[in-house]
């Protein structure tokens, strides 16, 4: 028995050596492609340098590398004194200096730790997909959805609630819509998020990845008639659940004149730039 195992060891070791050799050969092949190519003896092979390593500056805060203004900073179109919004903004910035609120969009997967007197260890951690971001100013909220033990759970968190200890973004991505309430009527696999999910690293610069997933729905009736144009949903695979006749019938509720209504226009670009520069200035102090 012992003799067999020794020979087996030697065999395994030799196998390993062969595998290493193979790997080495592959590495050599990638950098010097033209070495084994026939009929290239006249010129020496062109030297292709290895790819440069990307240096990510981890000392600088990740948030500042991408220009993002949280939507609750933009004031609604109302006849309110701008002083009220500026005072609320000051409070929001004070809170953001204590609690780091990362950049996220509806469709990203978040984990929120909140102080709870009834929870074990006094801290309650919930992981879910963000389906909606609502509210302006200090009352801004976001709703996280997850399916736990085959039961759908949605929790609405207030961004500036002092009981929130930590907000982590496990996966940063955007979806085709701003409001993913239709996930309530979609198949449960689209709302399930693993509670022990590891954070997916995302680059601090560049575009936020857009997930062009078209969701499959449960059979009708749904909680809302998502096919109607007022919801303007791009993220549902309507071809699988609706007949073209039903889609045409839904178009009867279309209001194509709203796009041309000038009184409904609210151009926030200048306001956004001004508020973004103000917020960045205050946060860096």
């Amino acid at each position: 028995m012992a003799a067999c195992s020794k020979r087996l060891d030697k065999f395994i070791v030799s196998l390993r050596l062969l595998r290493n050799l193979q790997l080495q050969n592959e590495r050599f092949l990638s950098t010097s492609l033209c070495r084994w190519a026939p009929g290239n003896d006249s010129e020496p092979p062109k030297f292709i340098p290895p790819s440069k390593p990307v240096i990510i500056d981890k000392t600088q805060a990740v948030a500042t590398l991408r220009k993002f203004l949280s939507p609750e900073f933009i004031p609604p179109r109302q006849r309110t004194n701008p002083l009220k919004f500026s005072m609320e903004r000051k409070d929001m910035i004070r809170r953001r200096k204590i609690l780091n609120v990362p950049e996220f969009y509806p469709g990203s997967i978040l984990a929120v730790s909140m102080a709870d007197p009834n929870a074990t260890g006094k801290i309650n951690r919930f992981v879910g997909i963000c389906i909606q971001r609502g509210g302006k100013g200090l009352g801004a909220t976001f709703v996280l959805r997850n399916i736990i033990n085959q039961q759908g759970v949605e929790i609405c968190y207030e961004l500036y609630n002092p009981r929130i200890q930590k907000i982590e973004v496990l996966k940063l991505e955007k979806r085709l819509d701003d409001n993913l309430m239709y996930l309530r009527d979609a198949l449960p696999e689209y709302s399930t998020v693993d509670p022990d999910m590891k954070p997916v690293p995302f680059p601090p610069t560049g575009e936020v990845p857009l997930n062009e997933l078209k969701v499959k729905m449960r059979p009708k009736p749904w909680s809302k008639r998502w096919e109607r144009p007022k919801f303007n949903i791009q993220g549902i695979h309507f071809d699988l659940c609706l007949v073209p006749k039903q889609m045409e019938h839904a178009q009867k509720w279309a209001q194509p004149w709203q796009e041309y209504d000038m009184l409904k226009e609210y151009d926030t670009s200048k306001l956004e730039q001004q508020i973004l520069s103000e917020v960045q200035q205050e946060m860096s102090k």
Binding site: Q78, R79, T80, N81, L83, K84, M87, E88, D91, M92, R94, R95, K97, I98, L99, A115, D116, P117, K122, G137, L138, G139, E158, Y160, N161, P162, R163, I164, Q165
Partner: protein
């Protein structure tokens, strides 16, 4: 606004107003105050009432307490609040003295001469709203003194009076909360009507004051016992608990509570009012003890 109007008139030509009238017109807030001696300031005694303020409703915002509960507060800004006239006991009603206070500067162009007269005497720009506050004799203040938000302190209770939002001519269900009639089961054209208007043949009349449809809103309503959570001395903003009658940017009257269980005997609010030279510079924000301030670390409920 008043400064602009005076400059505009002078530019148009001196013939429109005489230079003497221009010099007398109440443009500057500080420079034009009469150079007579300030009035005597008395100490607070049991049963003395002090003056209130006139403020503008900015909007509402959430706040959190140190135990993690959320409350809604209304932000009221004290804009250009001045004492305009002092009515001693004999002039007002024979029992209590009164102080006329005005808030929120407004242009003098659309106001009558009679209205402008009292502001001219006080040396103060014309105001949008003037109210009378019943005040005890030891709390009278010289006309022309500015009143600030620091007059109230966090933890105090106030009453806020304002004109409620006008709803126009409204039916009996919205105006008085009547139940109306059922929507179906044979009701003929009767779903939101008042129904009966009183007893039958004995009085044979409808009593005065019967609740009927009519104009609703745009009347003075007072909200009692509102707690002050926070006072911002830089912008003169009061954070008052709950909601307050009136629309955004409406002018309100704030005074100390009349409720006996919410008296401010424990705190010592400034009497007769907050003077900068007396108490010196306060911190920019004054907070109530129970309020969570956003510069503190997150709450850990243990």
């Amino acid at each position: 606004m008043a400064a602009w109007s005076c400059r505009f008139l002078l530019q148009r030509g001196p013939r429109l107003i005489s230079p003497r009238a221009a010099a007398e017109s109440p443009v500057q807030l500080v420079g034009c105050v009469r150079t007579t001696m300030p009035w005597q300031r008395h100490e607070w005694t049991e049963g003395s009432r002090r003056v209130g303020l006139v403020a503008v409703k900015l909007g509402m915002a959430p706040i959190w307490t140190k135990t993690g509960e959320k409350h809604a507060v209304t932000m009221l800004q004290v804009q250009d609040c001045h004492v305009i006239k002092c009515l001693p006991k004999e002039e007002y009603d024979g029992h209590t003295a009164a102080l006329v206070v005005g808030g929120k500067n407004v242009s003098p162009f659309h106001r009558s001469e009679h209205y402008m007269e009292m502001f001219r005497n006080a040396g103060v720009p014309p105001k949008q709203k003037i109210t009378t506050f019943k005040v005890s004799d030891n709390a009278i203040i010289k006309p022309g003194t500015p009143l600030y938000a620091a007059h109230f302190r966090p933890g105090q209770y106030v009453d806020v009076t304002a004109k409620s939002i006008g709803k126009g001519f409204q039916g009996v269900m919205k105006r008085w909360g009547f139940k109306g009639q059922p929507a179906s089961h044979g009701q003929t054209k009767t779903h939101r009507r008042p129904g009966a208007s009183g007893p039958g043949g004995d009085p044979a009349k409808v009593f005065k004051g019967k609740k009927m449809p009519g104009r609703m809103g745009n009347i003075y309503v007072t909200a009692f016992g509102l707690k002050i959570w926070r006072v911002n001395t830089k912008y003169n903003v009061l954070y008052v608990n709950g909601s307050v009658p009136g629309h955004r940017n409406c002018v309100l009257k704030i005074r100390d509570t009349v409720l006996p269980t919410r008296g401010s005997t424990l705190l010592s609010p400034p009497f007769p009012t907050y003077f900068t030279e007396d108490e010196g510079d306060l911190a920019e924000d004054l907070y109530d003890d129970d309020l969570f301030i956003h510069t503190e670390p997150s709450l850990t409920l243990t």
